[in-house]
Symmetry: C2
Subunit: 129 residues, 2 copies
């Protein structure tokens, strides 16, 4: 059976592709953080939404994320996702890494829904920067 | 100011060096998981304690972990730690990677203490295995 979180990440990737950031924000906790790029962090849904809009604009609204191999490490209401994240875009030579080994932390809320609390698509590569 | 979690990890490293696994277990949540090696996971304090004892025996009780560069990504009561983890031991050619880029997830409990919920010293290298 596919892990529920894998399905949620698929929905997030589709929402990013469709530039549907209202939908996308449903999958984040209120106080979530997003590593926009090394050294730059968006905190909370409003900042994260703005960051995604800026990223989409930067890529001429042609960005399309997808996931390759994925490992989900689950401890009760907390899960660490390690995932090969691929970014496709019409914009070439963007200066962004398009093939990443990402780390996402999800939390299960009281309704039993998994929401993203920490979105770090750079994974352990942050240590290189 | 040093982040509280950094201090806790330092205490954990010392407890491992001293083979004081009773003390070490104070820094894990009840339902924590430990990636012992790729494909092998210990669940809950009792399994984690046994895994640490087995690892210590394997290294002839000479294992000494320490941390290099560390980044702590904090979202309310959840934190993702990305850390260069170095393992030193008298045993050479152990078959274990001794220089890792680890991922740890910490949760803050109701008393305000940070506890390790997910201990994955292999970081995103799990995707290679």
């Amino acid at each position: 059976m596919t892990h529920e979180i894998k399905e949620i990440i698929k929905k997030c990737d589709l929402a990013i592709k469709n530039a549907d950031f209202d939908l996308l924000m449903n999958y984040y906790t209120e106080d979530a953080i997003l590593v926009v790029k090394p050294g730059m962090i968006a905190k909370g849904k409003e900042e994260i939404r703005k960051a995604f809009i800026a990223i989409a604009n930067y890529f001429n609204n042609s960005i399309e994320p997808s996931q390759g191999d994925m490992i989900i490490l689950e401890a009760e209401d907390t899960a660490l996702v390690i995932s090969q994240t691929l970014l496709d875009s019409d914009k070439k030579d963007s200066g962004y890494s398009m093939d990443r080994r990402a780390t996402y932390v999800f939390r299960k809320n009281l309704s039993g829904e998994w929401l993203c609390a920490i979105d770090n698509s750079y994974g352990t590569d942050l240590l290189n920067k």
